[in-house]
């Protein structure tokens, strides 16, 4: 019963936004969906497995450019290019994980930070393939049957359909043996080894999933906008994703949406500050780290605990 409350509330809210017909809200809604998908993967990696990726924007960028280039240059079916983008994102993350998890400590954070910069530089400099700083336009639209999915409304449905399915799967995964394994590895790798769980295998798996979801999100973003440039895939974007996970109480589940909505709304407000937004997001991330349960998530927990406590008292009285 309780498990159904969050998804039902989310779906009702989304339907409300859709029916309101407000173009601005629907546009923000699409942005939210595009943030939610990589945040789910990062929720597993950072939230559950406690591995910090500071360059997640790179995997999103890889997804976006793989989708654009394969569909533009090689005439591959757009849907198939989305699949390719997902697989490429996963493959890149798998390779980084495979290399980095041999070492312990903050090597993943350093490596992904570097990866973010390298990918960004390549996108800017490799003009013949990526179009350089001017970016590249996507020629072929994403089409379902005869319906063009490029409008905000259509994309709202597509993006949230995918996001909700993934949230459902992620929620299941967290409650599964796999999710328990991730939590064990996140808390103590030596304990994990001592009870027969391979820490590296799980970390690489979480890394691969999160890279794949980032690639998927990048591809969808590219098709939605119809045009991509290296600029959006910067450090601020990676920070925003981490902030979403932290604000959502590191859950990798429906609670992430608290962080998504907060960050998207804040991003809108901060547009006025231009480049300064990176600093502000950095500060927000630090603030979020201080409250490991997440801001709203934590309050929700407290509310639930106090309710359980009073319920317990009542039961006591009955006896």
């Amino acid at each position: 019963m309780n498990r159904a409350i969050a998804p039902v509330a989310v779906v009702l809210g989304l339907v409300g936004i859709y029916l309101s017909g407000n173009d601005y809200l629907i546009n923000l809604g699409v942005v939210c969906a595009i943030y939610t998908i990589p945040a789910i993967g990062l929720g597993l990696l950072f939230g559950r497995c406690r591995q910090i990726s500071l360059g997640h924007a790179a995997f999103v960028a890889i997804g976006a450019y793989v989708a654009a280039i394969t569909s533009n240059e090689y005439g591959i079916d757009p849907w198939f290019s989305v699949l390719l983008a997902t697989l490429t994102g996963g493959l890149c993350a798998w390779a980084v994980g495979k290399l980095m998890f041999r070492l312990s400590g903050h090597h993943l954070a350093m490596a992904t930070l570097a990866l973010g910069m390298i990918v960004h530089t390549v996108l800017v400099e490799w003009r013949s393939v990526t179009g350089g700083p001017d970016g590249t336009a996507l020629i072929n639209p994403l089409v379902l049957g005869s319906v063009d999915l490029m409008s905000d409304r259509a994309f709202f449905l597509l993006g949230w359909g995918v996001a909700c399915l993934l949230l459902l799967a992620s929620d299941n995964l967290i409650r599964s043996p796999f999710g328990l394994g991730l939590r064990v590895v996140g808390e103590s790798e030596s304990v994990a080894s001592s009870i027969g769980i391979k820490p590296n295998a799980l970390k690489v798996a979480a890394m691969t999933i999160s890279g794949g979801l980032a690639g998927l999100s990048g591809a969808l973003y590219a098709y939605w906008l119809g045009y991509i440039s290296p600029d959006p895939f910067n450090v601020a974007f990676s920070l925003k994703l981490l902030l979403i996970v932290a604000l959502g109480g590191y859950s990798g589940s429906w609670r992430l949406l608290v962080g998504v909505f907060f960050v998207v709304v804040i991003s809108e407000v901060l547009k006025a500050f231009g480049r300064w937004d990176t600093i502000i997001f950095g500060l927000l991330l630090i603030a979020a780290m201080l409250y490991p349960q997440g801001w709203l998530g934590g309050m929700f927990d407290q509310f639930r605990q106090s309710r359980q406590a009073t319920a317990g008292d009542k039961r006591g009285e009955l006896n």
């Binding site: 328990l180 939590r183 009870i195």
Partner: protein, 531 residues
């Protein structure tokens, strides 16, 4: 008992870190269904051999054979699958999970990604039975009632039981417990003893590392004694217990030649007074109502087994820990509210256990760090470049300290990380002396050192008191510590059980027993047989 089948065989295991040999041709066997204790002084290599067997360290040579199959080279999780499972010294409970989840994580074995994503993770295969198995294991150790509680709420004793249950849930055939009783009180230890007996009864072989010899004698059928990385003795518990070599290894067989000189000229002014101190680390009560004092120019030794609370007591005096109760007075001044980094300035210096040298700095630079608090007081700019009278004063103290440890003069420009154990200990003590303390506290100066090196260091200490330094020394090497000190205190399970003149303590036969803890062995022997 002798005709039990050999289950696990450790054969000629060598292990070294850098140039330091930790294990040297260690061989012993574990027989099916027995309870085996692995004992030995601090730094003897007990945890190291356990780490080798369970795949956390790779030995330089030797084999670990499980029913004839070599485990060396297998990864830790693979060895767990073979049924050889360990716990950790610090219990290492996963506090973010609840009690039951801690155990289920060990019993589930399969973590299928796709099945998990569609919500079928717990429906089939091994995970479908893991909950039931976890409950059985919790029941076995007596934690069935707290299964749904958050693991962070458990007491220290319950944490050890949970660690055992978790290890069992992996399907362990041989369970290695690393100091399961450390830091537990009598009642908790009793519960643990009973749980371990139940575990054995369920068909699991138990090997445990332990310092508390009372605990050992309640449980162990056979004992392996390690000392300086070698097997000192092994065999039936009874025979090992009375082996004079073992008693020596525990009490320390270092003979200190230089007894204390006549102390008629010593003043009786109190330097340090601790009254009714209590302290705890989280759920573990480390000190209970401890009172002691150190007079000016006196050497006082504090002896007791590992986990008795000795380091905690020093930590309270040096300001690292805050006592929950009681008062500390130094040179007529209360230490309450004085931060740890201010205490060296008052004249309290600690040479910590394990030496804690700055390995990449030279000996000279390490010593300069010991003068830090003095330099800091003469101004921030002195820290950037010591100069003038302050610089001269520092060199003067360094000169004095190097006269005291002449070996350090030769090593002056050598990196501290490349020193031998004994030289490292000298730097550790010299660094503490750099602040010109009135009270020098030494935490296990003989840790990991060969007897002759220990002797050299301990024998140099009485000279310090002539320069007006008082010394409070913690030692496992009880005999040597008492020989060189004026007075001694014996700490058992966080309380002082005996105190007095060192000579008197040395002659009291029951001190050995109180310290070793063998004395309860005979009655518990009966308990075990009748149980």
């Amino acid at each position: 008992m002798n005709n039990k089948k050999v289950l696990l065989e450790v054969k000629d295991v060598d292990l070294s870190f850098g140039g330091l040999s930790v294990l040297n041709k260690v061989s012993f066997d574990v027989r099916g269904g027995e309870i085996l204790a692995l004992i030995g002084p601090n730094g003897a290599g007990k945890s190291s051999i356990l780490n080798v067997i369970t795949g956390f360290y790779t030995p330089n040579a030797g084999q670990v054979l499980l029913e004839g199959k070599n485990l060396v080279g297998m990864s830790a999780d693979k060895i767990v699958d073979k049924g050889v499972v360990r716990t950790f010294q610090a219990a290492e409970i996963l506090f973010e999970l609840n009690v039951r989840e801690n155990v289920v994580a060990a019993s589930m074995k399969e973590m299928k990604l796709f099945a998990g994503a569609i919500g079928m993770g717990w429906k089939y295969g091994r995970p479908s039975r893991s909950g039931e198995l976890a409950d059985q294991c919790l029941e076995l150790v007596g934690l069935g009632d707290v299964a749904e509680r958050s693991a962070a709420q458990l007491t220290a004793g319950q944490q050890r039981l949970l660690a055992a249950a978790r290890a069992l849930a992996t399907g362990a055939e041989i369970l290695f417990l690393d100091e399961p009783g450390a830091g537990l009180n009598h009642i908790e230890k009793e519960l643990l003893v009973n749980a371990i007996l139940r575990i054995r009864k369920s068909g699991v072989t138990v090997v445990f590392v332990e310092h508390d010899l009372t605990f050992v004698s309640k449980l162990a059928e056979r004992i392996v004694v390690l000392n300086y990385g070698q097997v000192l003795a092994k065999g039936e518990a009874e025979a090992v217990r009375t082996d004079p070599k073992v008693i020596d290894a525990y009490l320390g067989n270092t003979e200190i030649n230089r007894r204390r000189d006549n102390r008629s000229e010593r003043s009786n002014r109190r330097l340090l007074t601790a009254a009714n101190l209590s302290a705890s680390h989280g759920a573990v009560q480390a000190l209970e109502d401890v009172s002691l004092h150190v007079d000016e120019g006196e050497i006082v030794s504090l002896i007791g087994a590992n986990g008795a609370g000795k380091s905690t007591l020093l930590g309270c005096i040096s300001g690292r820990y805050r006592p929950s109760q009681g008062t500390l007075e130094f040179a007529g001044r209360s230490l309450r509210g004085i931060a740890a980094d201010k205490r060296p300035g008052l004249g309290i210096a600690l040479a910590p256990e394990g030496r804690s040298l700055f390995g990449s700095l030279t000996v000279e630079e390490n010593l300069m760090m010991g003068y830090f608090s003095q330099l800091r007081r003469s101004g921030l700019s002195q820290l950037i470049a010591p100069r003038g009278e302050h610089h001269r004063a520092m060199l003067e103290v360094m000169e004095e300290v190097m006269t005291f440890f002449p070996k350090l003069r030769q090593r002056r420009h050598q990196q501290a990380g490349t020193l031998s154990g004994g030289e490292g200990q000298m730097v550790n003590i010299a660094r503490a002396l750099m602040s010109r303390p009135q009270l020098l506290m030494l935490d296990e100066p003989s840790f990991g050192l060969a007897p002759q090196v220990t002797r050299e260091i301990l024998e140099s200490l009485p000279d310090l008191t002539r320069k007006g330094v008082s010394i409070l020394i913690i030692e496992q090497n009880a005999k040597a510590a008492l020989q060189m000190s004026d007075r001694g205190y014996v700490l058992v399970n966080g309380s002082i059980v005996a105190e007095g003149q060192s000579n008197a303590l040395l002659e009291r036969a029951d001190i050995n027993e109180a310290f070793l803890g063998w004395q309860e062995s005979t009655e518990s022997e009966h308990e075990r047989v009748s149980a």
